[in-house]
């Protein structure tokens, strides 16, 4: 008898979060580097407060996208072949593994977004508009990026192309997420409708989730 699907998902989430807690990859490496990247922007464009306010949200989301995908790809491709074999022989459903890895990456990405977001607000003097919408946007972006990174890692692991494929796979699908997130904030700032941008992000995340779940088994077996 194998554990139920969602029981397996939960086991993978707990495993990955425990691994992160012990290794501290995101807490001690990714978050400080993300914050540092935000600090470098004023060095490049000068200390023009208005300009920084104007480009601040865009810079924040670009950094979240870049570091976020790196986190998700890194987390998902960290498993060695003996570890993958052991999980397969425990009866782990590849789709459950995909969802579990995605959820654990999304939780870490959300933490990354929050910490780097606080830095961005302080550094660029950004207004926190429509907190409920902002939180929703951040959650969807974290899930979308986690899905994208986990799917990319699965594809990279199943081919001999290696990490050279990562930018090619990630760039096209991360653009709608980046666009949706920045436009949603602009909508809040200028009073435009933002639902369509949020829906765009949800649509991208849904499509990637479906591809990830449906291809989990074939990618693992290849």
């Amino acid at each position: 008898m194998t554990a139920g699907f969602w029981h397996q998902v939960r086991a993978v989430i707990d495993r990955d979060l425990l691994r992160e807690r012990r290794s501290g990859d995101v807490l001690w490496i990714t978050i400080p580097f993300g914050a540092l990247a935000l600090l470098l922007v004023p060095l490049a464009v000068g200390t023009d407060a208005e300009l920084l306010r104007e480009i601040g949200v865009g810079m924040y989301w670009v950094i979240v996208m870049l570091f976020g995908v790196l986190v998700a790809v890194g987390k998902a491709s960290k498993e060695t072949i003996p570890q993958q074999d052991a999980s397969s022989l425990l009866g782990l459903d590849p789709a459950a593994g995909f969802i579990g890895r995605t959820v654990s990456s999304a939780i870490l990405l959300l933490a990354f977004e929050v910490v780097v977001g606080v830095v961005a607000v302080g550094l660029y003097n950004l207004d926190v508009l429509g907190p409920a919408w902002l939180i929703l946007t951040m959650i969807i972006a974290a899930i979308g990026l986690a899905l994208l990174g986990t799917l990319t890692a699965s594809i990279v692991n199943s081919t001999s192309a290696g990490t050279a494929l990562v930018p090619l796979l990630v760039a096209p699908l991360s653009v709608p997420l980046l666009l949706g997130a920045t436009q949603a904030y602009d909508g809040l700032r200028y009073g435009h409708a933002i639902v369509s941008w949020v829906l765009l992000m949800v649509a991208v995340a849904t499509v990637v989730a479906m591809i990830g779940v449906l291809t989990a088994r074939p990618l693992q077996e290849s």
Partner: protein, 233 residues
């Protein structure tokens, strides 16, 4: 090529019981070949293993022993030929359903280094649907009760291998695949592994043991086969 299924047992006293021998074979490989890219790793492999059998698998480095184990574990598909493991066709999706009944301890441990030895077993139990209350008992059986909270990454190779054997004790497997099971183990652990092999065979399961130590394996195996150039002899 000889048919290993017809080879006599190395020691008649160790041969499986007639009831076991009459039962359906657990592993059947019929002219199986495996390719990795452009390299033919295994070719025309024929093998039949029945319930209660312990089979030694020998071969030089690069002969394809580990690939053969991964094939029998249903983790890779044959490029040529046909085969069944625990009744599931190696080329059909049925093989996913039997994986949970196949245990494998490779020469490179598959534990997660950031988790403790106990946490690794708890993860295995949760995924496999085995009550995690069995974890302390399994660790005790391999002499690791005192090291349950030690990180796998900070444990010796031998301790990691013992933990993998503990995992196989916890989960009810019908087929055990062991790659160099004696390496990095002390005398007590070797006795434990050999006890596990004997127990699995007595329960009607089957065990395939890959090793370079012919004398040790011949002492516990019912028969042995050898891989040379990707083919069983």
């Amino acid at each position: 090529m000889s048919d290993p299924s017809t080879a006599p047992a190395a020691d008649p006293e160790k041969a499986p019981s007639s009831a076991d021998a009459a039962a359906a074979p657990l592993v059947v490989l019929d002219g199986v070949g495996v390719r990795m890219g452009s390299t033919q790793i295994l070719r025309d492999v024929n093998l039949e293993i029945g319930p209660g059998e312990v089979v030694g698998l020998f071969g030089a480095n690069g002969a394809g022993k580990t690939t053969a184990l991964r094939l029998i574990a249903t983790l890779i598909r044959p490029a040529q030929g046909a085969g069944t493991v625990l009744g599931a066709d190696l080329a059909s999706p049925d093989r996913y359903d039997v994986r949970r009944r196949i245990g494998m301890v490779g020469h490179v441990p598959g534990l997660f280094p950031e988790l403790t030895l106990a946490e690794n077993l708890q993860y295995a139990g949760r995924v496999a649907g085995v009550p995690t209350v069995r974890v302390p008992e399994a660790l005790a059986a391999v002499g690791l009760s005192g090291a349950a909270d030690r990180l796998a990454g900070a444990s010796s190779h031998g301790m990691q291998r013992r933990t993998e054997f503990a995992r196989e004790l916890m989960i009810d497997r019908s087929l055990l695949l062991l790659d160099e099971p004696h390496s990095a183990l002390d005398r007590n652990a070797v006795d434990l592994v050999e006890g596990l092999i004997e127990r699995k065979a007595a329960e009607g399961g089957a065990v395939i043991v890959v090793s370079h130590d012919r004398d040790r394996i011949n002492a516990i195996a019912h028969r042995s086969v050898e891989l040379a150039g990707g083919t069983l002899t």
